[in-house]
């Protein structure tokens, strides 16, 4: 670790914060249907879209109608993408002439993009045509991100409103988020990527002659545009198989900074949006603090573990001064790789600029654990916000009683119904992650996909299911996931992690929106300030994370001690 590294990390966080607040407040105005500086330009398009779709943006929906609209929209998106993938061979913009995608892979990939997971069981440049990348995948990068933000807005309204039967209009929220927030931001970020040398072309591949005189085929394509929304929408699905480690996706240190910044900025903006919409900015700040503290701790541990290096490699004569550089890009360095690793997993983004499988055991434990904490640090766009709100509700419920009042969050009483639904949501992740991992761990056909034996192999399995259920999409690698078993079970895990989670959350929102706001007083449990931040962090770690401790002990933790003892697998 170096001071330079820490200063750089701090500067990136600062750069995010500076922009996150205005974006959050802007997003709140957009979602409230208020006039914004972009309205003169985008207003007519918005109105046109409503006319075309026959949507009345002012017509409010109950939580059921809102959720149903979201589910129908996602299902339609899934079917469309599935069809595009299967029919790739017959569709245009396929300069490399790729054939149709296999059914299990198409199932997995469609679900992966609809759920904002972007798990990639395929190599992008060798499997997908430009049409698929642009009309199929990038489209979903926008829509799944917008869906997440729309849901977060609906949940936020539950706290902002009092005695209301409705949570907004899904179609209006979706349209507004896409048009006013994601498109303009993507445009700016894509242009910045182009400036930094990321390709943006419809040419399929170019042939280059290397210095040795050998011929080499280099895949290129519309990378910059996909890269922008890949990061901004916490999607993480790269154009290339090597993702953000690939020099065309992430050419240099500046591009890398931009990647980290872009991946954080929207998720970090949403707590500000929350504060703005509920009329109490400090509530948003508190959530962001809790997210930020855990994330910074994650960055710190990865940074520390990786720079300490691997004693096994040192024994082989590798210079320990540069730390563990296996699987990392020299152009990014330790600090920015550590930050990327923690941020992409704290965020449910899943883009990678290093091989996670090459991280030291503790360095690899962090991204795994960050995903298992529920992707709320600060989590995927939208999903991170409603995820941490569930944790806040649990925190208030457990600790709120300690002030001698029945629990309430932002003036809304948390009662049996909310608790039932919150527990239902919270159960989904351990069920999907631990359930599937335990089955795969004893299933010979699944074990055949493992590249490593021992604890590392278990970590690979655990990581895959955590990544899918957490809708992260990053891969630990070392696991050949393109098999029918993994494509199917990982697909189901993604489905559960997104929709089985959000439906009960929306039900909570519906129930809370209908409640009258209780007036705050000095007797009210304070949900801002350091004490609540500490409590929230405690609940996230103890309730959200402790159940994974046995599994982690058998994976990265034991591997760490084995490494110290000089053993490897």
């Amino acid at each position: 670790m170096s001071l330079n590294g820490w200063v750089l990390i701090a500067l990136v966080f600062l750069a995010v914060l500076v922009v996150a607040r205005p974006i959050g407040i802007y997003a709140a105005r957009v979602l409230n249907g208020e006039r914004t500086p972009l309205t003169p330009v985008l207003g007519p398009i918005e109105t046109g879209l409503y006319c075309l779709a026959g949507v009345d943006p002012a017509r409010e929906q109950t939580w059921r109608a809102y959720t149903l609209a979201m589910l129908v929209f996602s299902a339609a998106g899934f079917l469309l993408l599935y069809a595009i993938l299967r029919l790739q061979a017959f569709l245009p913009l396929n300069p490399q002439g790729f054939g149709g995608v296999a059914p299990d892979l198409a199932f997995n990939t469609s679900l992966s993009f609809v759920t904002n997971t972007n798990w990639q069981a395929y190599g992008g440049e060798t499997t997908m045509s430009h049409f698929v990348q642009m009309a199929g995948l990038t489209l979903h990068n926008f829509l799944s991100a917008a869906t997440g933000i729309a849901l977060a807005a609906a949940v936020t309204r539950a706290f902002a409103r009092s005695g209301s039967g409705t949570l907004g209009n899904f179609w209006a929220d979706l349209t507004r988020v896409t048009l006013y927030v994601l498109l303009p931001l993507s445009l700016i970020v894509a242009l910045m990527f182009v400036t930094l040398g990321v390709p943006q072309t419809l040419v399929g591949a170019i042939d280059a002659t290397t210095l040795e005189g050998a011929k080499q085929t280099l895949s290129i394509g519309p990378v910059a545009s996909q890269e922008a929304i890949k990061m901004l929408g916490t999607n993480g699905g790269g154009f290339f198989n090597a993702n953000s480690a690939h020099p065309f996706e992430n050419p240099d240190a500046w591009a890398n900074l931009l990647q980290i910044w872009a991946m954080l900025v929207v998720s970090a903006a949403l707590p500000f949006m929350f504060g703005e919409m509920v009329g109490n900015e400090r509530q948003g700040h508190t959530l962001l603090w809790a997210m930020g503290l855990l994330l910074i701790a994650g960055v710190g541990i990865v940074y520390w573990a990786e720079t300490r290096g691997n004693p096994l490699l040192t024994a082989l004569g590798v210079d320990p001064a540069s730390g563990n550089m296996e699987g990392k890009e020299v152009r990014f360095g330790q600090a920015m790789t550590a930050m990327f690793v923690a941020v992409t997993t704290g965020l449910s983004c899943g883009a990678v600029n290093a091989m996670h499988n090459s991280l030291t055991p503790l360095g690899g434990l962090v991204p795994l654990f960050l995903i298992q904490l529920g992707e709320i640090l600060p989590g995927g766009v939208g999903s991170g916000l409603y995820g941490i709100l569930v944790m806040a509700i649990l925190t208030v419920f457990i600790a709120g009683l300690m002030v001698g009042r029945t629990p309430e969050y932002l003036g809304k009483k948390i009662e049996a119904r909310e608790m039932k639904l919150a527990m239902l949501a919270v159960l989904i992740l351990p069920l999907a992650i631990l359930g599937f991992t335990a089955v795969a761990a004893v299933l010979p056909s699944a074990l055949a996909s493992l590249a490593n034996a021992g604890p590392r192999g278990l970590t690979e399995l655990l990581y895959a299911y955590s990544s899918a259920a957490g809708n992260n999409g990053s891969a630990f690698a070392g696991l050949n996931a393109n098999t029918p078993w993994f494509n199917t079970t990982l697909g189901i895990a993604m489905l559960l992690g997104r929709f089985a989670y959000v439906v009960p959350v929306m039900a909570i929102a519906g129930s809370l929106a209908a409640k009258t706001k209780v007036a705050p007083s000095t007797g009210t449990f304070p949900t801002t300030g350091p004490l609540f931040i500490g409590l929230l962090v405690g609940v996230i770690v103890i309730l959200g994370g402790l159940q994974y401790f046995p599994a982690l002990a058998l994976g990265p933790i034991v591997e760490h001690f084995l490494m110290l003892d000089g053993k490897s697998f």
Partner: protein, 685 residues
């Protein structure tokens, strides 16, 4: 009531013996299934017992270890049952006392109504009375059922329900018409219309509540049970899947060990104490002589943020007392006092007596030597609003200022400036001015003041710190009300309050998202009592009021509203603190059990054995023993509750979090280590 509170010690031999027996009968799974956490514990305890028997019979495995784990798992269940049984036992003791008064009585059922005491009655067993029957109750009779006095007046000993031996007056009409079955008429007679049949009477309901027979989970308790069940499920997933994960790693984890892990992780501590906390909270209220008709009301009491308090009796003593004599120019203060004393000689009201007392104490005046036979005392009447005396040719009057001026044929403007100024000043400070005149001459004014109770301002300040707004309800005019309000330190007041005003105020506050508590006794209070979130009806009040409220104060002391709120808060705090403690405990338990689970496969994992526990088996056993013993250790706390301090939510949270959150993290590390030392020393594992 404090004496009554102290009268029931925490540990009573009889209660403990009964509770021990109950703890065993409560093992019945059909009963235990209501408590999912403990039910799961019982199921796995049975499982481990079966494994133990199998190991003994087949001579395989480690029966010593399984046997001990099974034993402690059963103890965990028993301790949880015991906690509940002790809480119930304390209530039952009280119920038995109440039940004695319910012995069947013979009622005098009225069959022919002729008016007065000439009615014809025939004897009828109280248990055969139905709602609507009319009964005669005479001196020495036990009132056979709850009812409404329709005729007559009597003094009644209600100590059976209130514990208060001083008799109370019950009469027809007005706000003192409700009588309770089981109480005794001491003098005179009343005719009562039965309003509750046997089995649903006030006493019956009280017995049921005290015993916990009618106990249902309160809303927050239900929500908490859901959380605990959810956590149990999560840990069940974690433990069951561990079987597969361990299998991958080449470890076969014995079922006994997995069970031990499960039981130590699921929230058995709070799961075992939850119902005891609830019962103890109700019990505390009852020992405070307040009966809540539902647990919901007790929880709501903790949430209350606005208290509607009647001025009279709660904030002030309710009597206007003379505090000052102010003479007009030309008359001496002593002269004023002298004639005020004379005018009040026959005035037996507290106001009159206070004038006499003040005149004597402040000016050392003797008792006036007048011939009472020759004196013509003028009693106060609503028409004249004057009282006084005509003696020795002197006409002395005192009364409302305008009435005195009218008596003197003066207009307000004609009265001396100083007099008008004094009157205005008194009125503005919430006092009542009384004019005094003699022989057509104005002497001055007496300052009568409603005296605010000495410590009430501090109590309201404490309530404010708790985030509770106090609202004074009074029939006084707004000026008087404002003065008393500022003196007592209440946040708001409703002057010239009618029952409708109260109701409207409650609705307005509730619309703003506030929870309201109030107390009342009259029939016209009933709508407001029903509307309030916590309505405490006075036992001396009407049947309608008692039905409308969700609590009844047996002492009929409106000040207790404040304590009711505190008891509600205490209940919630105890529940929250023990939940936090229970969940925080898990961290240490993981560190005890996880290394023990896998240390044979991966000896390196012993690095996680931060407590340095002797062996894997002793670690697991110690965690299970700690898990069982902590329930017993916390029973006293669950029953007495956590002390409530009116310091505001933030400070309260900080304090409780430090004790129960941080304590919950640290205590098990120490506890498990100590138990491990003992287990290792005794070579138990």
């Amino acid at each position: 009531m404090s004496s009554k509170l102290a009268a029931q010690p925490l540990c009573d031999g009889a209660i403990l013996a009964q509770a021990t027996r109950d703890a065993i009968t409560k093992l019945d799974p059909r009963q235990l299934v209501r408590n999912p956490v403990i039910f799961v514990t019982e199921v796995v305890a049975a499982l481990v017992t079966a494994l133990f028997i199998r190991e003994v019979v087949l001579g395989i495995g480690t029966p010593m270890f399984s046997g001990q784990i099974a034993t402690w798992l059963w103890f965990t269940v028993l301790f949880a049952n015991f906690a509940e049984a002790v809480a119930e036992g304390r209530g039952k003791a009280q119920a038995d006392a109440l039940r004695k008064t319910r012995a069947d009585t013979q009622a005098k059922l009225l069959v022919g109504l002729h008016g007065g005491r000439d009615d014809v009655w025939c004897p009828r067993s109280a248990s055969e009375l139905v709602v609507g029957d009319l009964v005669l109750v005479e001196a020495g009779d036990i009132i056979p059922a709850d009812g409404e006095v329709i005729e007559g007046i009597a003094s009644v000993n209600e100590s059976a329900v209130t514990g208060e031996s001083a008799p109370v007056i019950r009469e027809s009409g007005g706000d003192r018409s409700a009588v309770t079955g089981g109480t005794v008429v001491l003098s005179d007679w009343i005719k009562v219309r039965v309003t509750a049949a046997q089995g649903s009477s006030f006493l019956d309901r009280m017995i049921a509540l005290v015993e916990g027979a009618a106990r249902q989970k309160t809303p927050n308790e239900l929500a908490l049970s859901i959380l605990l069940s959810g956590l149990t499920l999560i840990f069940l997933i974690a433990v069951v899947t561990l079987y597969g994960l361990a299998g991958y790693s080449g470890t076969i984890v014995p079922v006994t060990v997995l069970v031990a892990l499960l039981v130590t992780l699921i929230p058995t501590t709070i799961g075992g104490l939850l119902s005891a906390i609830g019962i103890a909270g109700m019990d505390r209220l009852i020992r405070f002589n307040v009966v809540a008709t539902s647990g919901r009301a007790v929880e709501a009491a903790g949430d209350v943020d606005t208290l509607l308090l009647d001025k009279t009796g709660t904030i002030t003593y309710g009597n206007r007392l003379a505090t000052q004599f102010i003479a007009v120019p030309g008359a001496g203060e002593r002269e004023l006092a002298e004639f005020a004393l004379l005018a009040s000689l026959a005035d037996e009201t507290p106001e009159g007596r206070s004038i006499v007392a003040l005149a004597k104490s402040k000016y050392g005046l003797p008792d006036p030597q007048i011939d009472r036979a020759k004196a013509a005392f003028v009693a106060f009447s609503a028409a004249t609003r004057l009282s006084g005396v005509d003696v020795n040719g002197r006409v002395v009057r005192k009364g409302a200022v305008d009435a005195v001026l009218k008596h003197l044929a003066l207009t307000n403007e004609q009265a001396p400036f100083e007099f008008r100024q004094a009157v205005e000043r008194i009125a503005q400070t919430g006092g009542t001015p009384l004019g005094v005149s003699r022989d057509g001459r104005l002497l001055g004014v007496i300052h009568l003041k409603d005296v605010v109770k000495p410590d009430i301002k501090e109590r309201f300040a404490a309530l404010r710190a708790m985030g509770i707004k106090t609202v004074m309800v009074t029939g006084d005019n707004p000026i008087t009300a404002a003065a008393i309000a500022s003196e007592a330190g209440v946040d708001d007041f409703i002057a010239e309050a009618t029952p409708q005003d109260k109701l409207a105020y409650i609705r307005a506050e509730q619309a703003k998202g506030r929870l309201i508590a109030m107390c009342g006794d009259g029939t016209n209070d009933a709508p407001a009592l029903a509307q309030a979130d916590v309505g405490v009806a006075m036992q001396t009040g009407t049947q309608a009021a008692r039905e409308a409220g969700n609590m009844v104060d047996l002492d009929s002391n409106p000040t207790k509203l404040i304590e009711v709120v505190e008891i509600g808060k205490q209940l919630l705090m105890t529940r929250g603190s023990l939940t936090t403690f229970s969940i925080a405990n898990d961290v240490a338990k993981y560190f005890a059990i996880i290394p023990a689970l896998f240390v044979t496969t991966y000896p390196e994992l012993n690095a996680l054995n931060v407590m340095g526990l002797a062996s894997p088996q002793s670690a697991i056993l110690s965690a299970v023993i700690f898990n069982a013993l902590i329930i017993v250790a916390l029973i006293p706390l669950a029953l007495t509750g956590i002390a409530y301090r009116p310091v505001g939510a933030a400070a309260l949270l900080q304090r409780n979090l430090l004790i129960y959150g941080l304590g919950g993290l640290i205590v098990p590390f120490i506890g498990i280590k100590l138990i491990d030392l003992i287990v290792a020393a005794l070579r138990l594992a």
